[in-house]
Amino acid sequence: MKDLFRGELVRFTLEEPETSTKAAILWQRDSEFQRLLDNNPVQSNSEKKFREGFEKEAENGFKPERCGFSVRTLAEDRFIGFLSIWLDLIHREAWVGLGIGAREDWSKGYGTDMLKLCQQYVFSELSMKRLSLGLFEYNPRALRSYEKCGFRLEGRTRMDTMREGKRVDSLWMGILREEWLQMQEGEGK
């Protein structure tokens, strides 16, 4: 059986609440990072608030419809980001959100590797039928990475986001279980 937690460049872990808190405090300083992650107004959250959030997650354990991973590089064993999965257990659809905190770690192929691990987890461990994600027009780097992983663009909600006084689209992508299985066969050859 395959290693679910180890990719080519990164691995999935779960950091201690204190480590996650320290990292989150640093990462949120970069407003670009926050704006790539979400289209809500950027926030400046306290250490206390982050800590309580991570501790609550640790206490309650993860609910069945939610999986959270921390991400470390294989080469230097550095904590670089996170990946979260939300599940619709009835319709067997999963949604993924991910972030790589420090800009030195962007464009290194880590995101692509994280998503490949995520696809493997969602389809071969969680038995989902489809994996979905959303991104913003102003994030072409993410779009390239998602396309590389086999996600198909399924549409754009026109001008649903306003940043810097400009209207931009959100893009929506998805990959079906059969599509992922086909890709696996192609790679096995």
Binding site: P41, R130, E154, T157, R158, M159, W172, G174, L176
Partner: protein, 192 residues
């Protein structure tokens, strides 16, 4: 001149208004006993709900309105006899982006195909654009809800996203659509 005479809450046959916590639960409870209605309205598993459950839902809803300030909810009644026939919501409002999602349901099959959906959606759009100043509205519709698809097309909504086989019902997969309408598109239509 600013048009404040045109009524926001009234159409030819309908009136949008508040929840009646005494009388409405029993009526909405009846709607939930139609699995067809429940499946058209929601992707959550359909279940019949008692008046007591509906009553609690109303209380939660009003709390959400007060706390989150990103939700407007209306009951749809016939002007003629004040009978409750449906509900209409503008929800998940993102104020900084000017985007929100619409939800609309006419409860009893006997009240379908009478143009009530059209009247209610027209009112809802005017509230969204002329009162809440939204830039666009969205609606999420499963492939099998052809009545909703037709209604949205009638108002000029564009099918923007097709989430392929995102739902499973009756043992097969269905697509889920996201529709969108921009304020400009609405304005050009209502004046034209």
């Amino acid at each position: 001149m600013l048009d404040i005479q045109t009524q926001l809450f009234e159409s030819q046959d309908l009136r949008l208004g508040p929840i009646d916590h005494e009388k409405d639960p029993e009526i909405e409870s009846k709607w939930t006993h139609s699995s067809e209605f429940m499946r058209l309205m929601d992707t959550e598993p359909a279940r019949p709900l008692s008046a007591a459950v509906i009553k609690k839902q109303y209380e939660k809803l009003e709390k959400r309105v007060e706390e989150n300030k990103n939700l407007f909810h209306f009951m749809v009644r016939l002007k003629a006899d004040d009978r409750l026939i449906g509900k209409a919501t503008i929800q998940w409002i993102e104020w900084t982006n000017g985007n929100a999602f619409l939800r609309l349901g006419i409860g009893l099959a006997d009240d379908w195909r009478k143009g009530y959906g059209t009247q209610a959606l027209k009112l809802l759009l005017r509230i969204a654009f002329a009162e809440l100043n939204l830039f666009r509205v969205s609606a999420i519709v499963p492939e099998y809800n052809q009545a909703a698809v037709a209604l949205l097309h009638k108002f000029g909504f564009v099918q923007e996203v097709c989430r392929r086989s995102a739902l499973e019902r009756d043992g097969r997969r269905w697509d889920l659509y996201v529709f969108g309408l921009l304020r400009d598109e609405w304005q050009n239509r209502s004046t034209g």
